[in-house]
């Protein structure tokens, strides 16, 4: 049973459990509250708040989610109390001298993080605002000032916007929380970049994914589990099209939850994985829900909820519920609700999930054939204004007008209105990229279009305040150049949006090429590693230093020949809404 109390003006949840003592503070703020032009500010504050704790003996951490930021620790109650006291003190008095270093650390963290194959899903659903911001890099870091941070802390890191939680019958005695007063912040609005659902977009290779909104309920939770079991059965056990399937049920607010399902796909079987995935969604809507699946899900839920530590494990979720004004249920109630779910209710959720769904397809494939509508990849309108034809390519043009910017190409236009700009990225070389609320992008590249400095400068003042982002210098290779007048082929970089030419199918080809090269590079790398080790450790190979160097250059050079193009191709494809 979870007990609710108040400590230092902060709502507090207590739940005893046999596991190690745990405690934390959760704030109602996350990436979905940020704007794209200041994306990363919450994560930066989390890092700054933890800096003084340095290297300590106890286990602690912080996480920045879409709508909540947790600071938590495990250890003795005194250590937990000390940790949380320190975090709250740090939020009052952040180590400003660390600002630039922490920004750099965050950039390194994001560069080293492997890209999720479903990273762009949220962008396609929500656009470049609210819940969609998580799809983008933390572009705001360079622009965020001390004042921005102070204002963000004052708004979100307050007593009224926090919940404390502890596993145990009481809070640590040494807790001294001195947070400023504020107000409970409402959740960010749920934006949409999809004019019509169910929708599809073509995503990363070898992955099929599905995202939807369903009414928040025990039936929706059970549906998510049934979906996972059916996907595992159809995609892995029966067909061998996939190795891994996973689902996630994630409450958004008091009324709504997000359901996510992801399956990887055997490279030769990507179309079958997509087909089987679509058939599973149909089976849950129209077929028979297996009673044995329902029974297994109930048994599993009962096991997990009867675990004496279950209430304590549910504390972070309970903290989220308190912050959004949702009731905190105890394990018994949760289990009771899950056990009461019927097959008909699961089927009803399946219908709702399909209707609101967004499907991510692999390998350049579409899903119109199964009743899904293509998510928009072009804009419906073009702004009125001055037209700049692309140097050496009459098929492409840029239009800059008083209300916004459009790029025009054979595949259709992309338009970003100034009033609906989520971010304007600016590189020192003069290149600019506008990203609209709907996720559309327009590149204004002086190398490609004869735009004068005065017009460029006017762009920067036309967009809403807080949306411009000055990025560090680009690799000269990535600055697009106009096509050679003698040649007929157009370089991919000449596309208005920096995307490879030829639409999704061409992207699919690049994915395949990049993957094949990557896999070969992997094998080549392993071989080179083994050979290099042998070269230095095997006494039988008594080569002089010059021969050794030559052999190493040969092996690793070969690896690089494969790895570099693979990496460059993959980087081309990294992101964002593909445009024509």
């Amino acid at each position: 049973m979870i007990v609710q109390t108040v400590i230092d003006g902060i709502p507090t949840l207590l739940a005893p459990g046999p596991g190690p003592a745990r405690g934390g503070i959760t704030f109602r703020v996350g990436r979905a509250d940020e704007t794209l032009g200041r994306a990363g500010i919450t994560h930066l504050i989390e890092h700054l708040a933890l800096h003084r704790l340095g290297v300590t003996d106890y286990h602690y951490n912080g996480t920045t989610g879409a709508t909540v930021t947790h600071f938590f620790s495990q250890g003795s109650p005194e250590a937990i109390g000390e940790y949380l006291t320190s975090v709250c003190a740090a939020l009052r008095d952040l180590p400003w001298h660390r600002l630039d270093v922490e920004k750099e650390i965050l950039r390194t963290e994001s560069a080293s993080r492997s890209q999720s194959p479903i990273e762009s899903l949220l962008l396609w659903r929500y656009g470049a605002r609210g819940y969609g911001v998580s799809s983008y890099p933390e572009w705001g870091l360079t622009e965020i000032t001390e004042d921005d941070i102070r204002a963000w802390v004052a708004r979100y890191f307050t007593r009224e916007n926090a919940v404390l939680w502890f596993s145990g019958i009481s809070a640590p005695a040494n807790l001294r929380l001195d947070l400023p007063s504020g107000t409970r912040m409402p959740l960010p609005p749920l934006t949409s970049a999809l004019p019509k659902t169910p929708a599809w977009f073509c995503g990363a290779p070898r992955v099929v994914a599905f995202h939807s909104h369903v009414p928040r309920s025990a039936a929706a939770q059970v549906f998510t589990s049934v979906l996972e079991r059916e996907l595992f059965r159809a995609l892995r056990q029966e067909g061998g099209y996939s190795y891994t399937v996973a689902t996630d049920y994630n409450p958004i607010d008091t009324e709504l939850s997000a359901v996510l399902a992801v399956a990887d796909a055997n490279p030769d079987k990507q179309e079958a994985a997509l087909g089987a995935f679509i058939d599973v969604l149909a089976k849950l809507r129209w077929g028979t829900i297996d009673q044995s699946d329902l029974d297994a899900i109930r048994t599993k839920a009962a096991e997990s909820l009867r675990d004496p530590d279950s209430e304590a494990n549910r504390l972070p979720m309970a903290a989220f519920n308190v912050l959004i004004g949702s009731p905190v249920l105890d394990s018994k109630q949760v289990l009771h609700e899950i056990e009461a779910v019927t097959a008909a209710e699961v089927q009803q959720v399946a219908e709702q999930a399909f209707t609101a769904g967004l499907l991510q397809t692999p390998n350049g494939r579409g899903a119109d054939w199964a009743g899904f509508t293509a998510a928009p990849t072009t804009s419906e309108t073009v702004v009125d204004g001055v037209r700049y034809p692309m140097r050496g390519d009459n098929d492409h043009a840029l239009v800059i007008g008083p209300s916004g910017v459009s790029t025009i190409g054979p595949g259709g236009p992309a338009t970003v209105h100034f009033a609906q700009t989520a971010a304007l990225l600016i590189w020192p070389d003069g290149g600019r990229m506008l990203i609209g609320h709907d996720g559309m992008t327009c590149r204004v590249e002086p190398t490609l279009f004869p735009v004068d400095a005065g017009t460029l400068a006017r762009l920067d003042t036309a967009v809403p305040p807080g949306t411009t982002v000055h990025l560090p210098a680009r690799d000269p290779e990535s600055i697009p150049q106009p096509p050679q007048s003698s040649g007929t082929s157009k370089p991919a970089a000449a596309r208005s949006d920096g995307q490879p030419a030829g639409g999704p199918r061409f992207r699919g080809f690049i994915y395949v090429l990049s993957t094949v090269l990557g896999v070969l590079a992997g094998f080549c790398g392993m071989f080179s590693l083994a050979a290099s080790l042998k070269l230095f450790t095997d006494p039988a190979l008594d080569y002089d230093a010059g021969t050794k160097a030559a052999v190493l250059v040969l092996y690793w050079g070969g690896t690089a020949v494969l790895a570099v193009p693979s990496f460059l191709l993959a980087r081309r494809l990294r992101r964002r809404r593909p445009q024509p």
Binding site: Y241, K269, G275, G287, G371
Partner: protein, 313 residues
């Protein structure tokens, strides 16, 4: 004798069950149709019965009225989807893709998408309903959903009916080079399914089908000598031994197609005696599949080859 011979390519001619089914559809009598359907035990025969709707112009309107009365009738629903596929394919025509206009493709895909979404529903309602999966092989091919996806659909058919001739014919088409397949994959599939079928079954005809497709895909200079290749002759002969020439050859529903196809195969390898035997077994019945690749179209080619076989065999 040969000059006044005309083959009857209609299924109703060879199979009275199909004739009765077709008459029932023409009369708008669904219970009578269902009685014909229910009387046939095997999926292969049932699929032939369901195909009778394609012989009745406008049968889709009748099928739609049946579905309106009983939305859960999977047989009527699948037949309706099959009609949409056929209407779509008639618009597309059997020509090579480069001779099909953009408008034709758009209409073709529209009909196939509608059929596919109906069939997704049928397969969700009853994943063991073989005719729906068989039709989904055609939608997958027409909508170009990919070889792996078509194969998955075939595997669903095979799980419940491992020797389903229609589904195997459909997958063989998918595996043809003209549908982005390969000669190797096509021949491999034909051999594998021929070997897996019991002796006397129809399925070894896939070997002839694959060779005819291979031959039809070649430029004239190569196609002229294709059937002189020893391995081609050998494979067709061995396949015949397993099916039409086998003492246990299955004379049940569907028998005309392998007999007609082997008649063609024997003509192509100049085995006139065996060809004559097949023509005599066929009597007036025939299947136009395969013959359409020959000069003059299926009927003229069939009459011409039959006359030669009667003379030389």
């Amino acid at each position: 004798m040969a000059d006044d011979f005309t083959p009857d390519f209609r299924l109703r001619a060879a199979y009275p069950e199909v004739a009765a089914a077709e008459d029932a559809i023409r009369a708008g009598d669904w219970p009578a149709f269902r009685a014909c359907y229910d009387a046939v035990p095997k999926w292969q025969g049932r699929q032939l019965i369901m195909g009778a709707a394609n012989e009745v112009a406008g049968s889709e309107t009748f099928l739609k009225s049946v579905i309106e009365r009983d939305p859960e009738d999977l047989v009527a629903t699948t037949m309706y989807a099959n009609r949409l596929i056929n209407i779509g394919w008639e618009i597309r025509t059997d020509k090579r893709a480069k001779y099909v206009s953009a408008e034709q493709f758009a209409a073709f895909h529209k009909y196939l998408r509608e059929a596919e979404q109906i069939l997704i529903w049928v397969c969700a309602r009853d994943p063991s309903f073989v005719p729906a999966w068989t039709n989904r092989l055609a939608t997958s091919r027409g909508l170009e959903l990919g070889q792996a996806e078509t194969r998955r659909r075939y595997d669903h058919v095979a799980r419940h009916d491992p020797h389903n001739m229609s589904a195997q014919n459909s997958l063989l088409q998918e595996l043809c080079p003209k549908w982005h397949g390969s000669l190797e994959a096509m021949h491999a599939f034909a051999s594998e399914r021929a070997a897996a079928a019991p002796p006397g079954a129809h399925n070894a005809v896939l070997i002839v089908d694959a060779h005819v497709e291979h031959w039809a895909s070649l430029p004239n200079t190569e196609s002229e000598t294709y059937f002189d290749r020893p391995n081609v002759r050998q494979e067709i002969m061995a396949a015949a031994e397993r099916s039409v020439l086998h003492p246990d050859f299955d004379r049940g529903m569907g028998w005309v197609y392998p007999m007609s196809m082997f008649a063609l195969g024997f003509c192509l390898i100049s085995e006139w005696t065996l060809a004559k035997r097949c023509f005599l077994e066929l009597g007036p019945y025939a299947d136009d599949w395969g013959w359409q690749y020959l000069k003059g179209g299926a009927e003229a080619a069939f009459i011409r080859c039959r006359a030669w076989a009667m003379e030389r065999g």
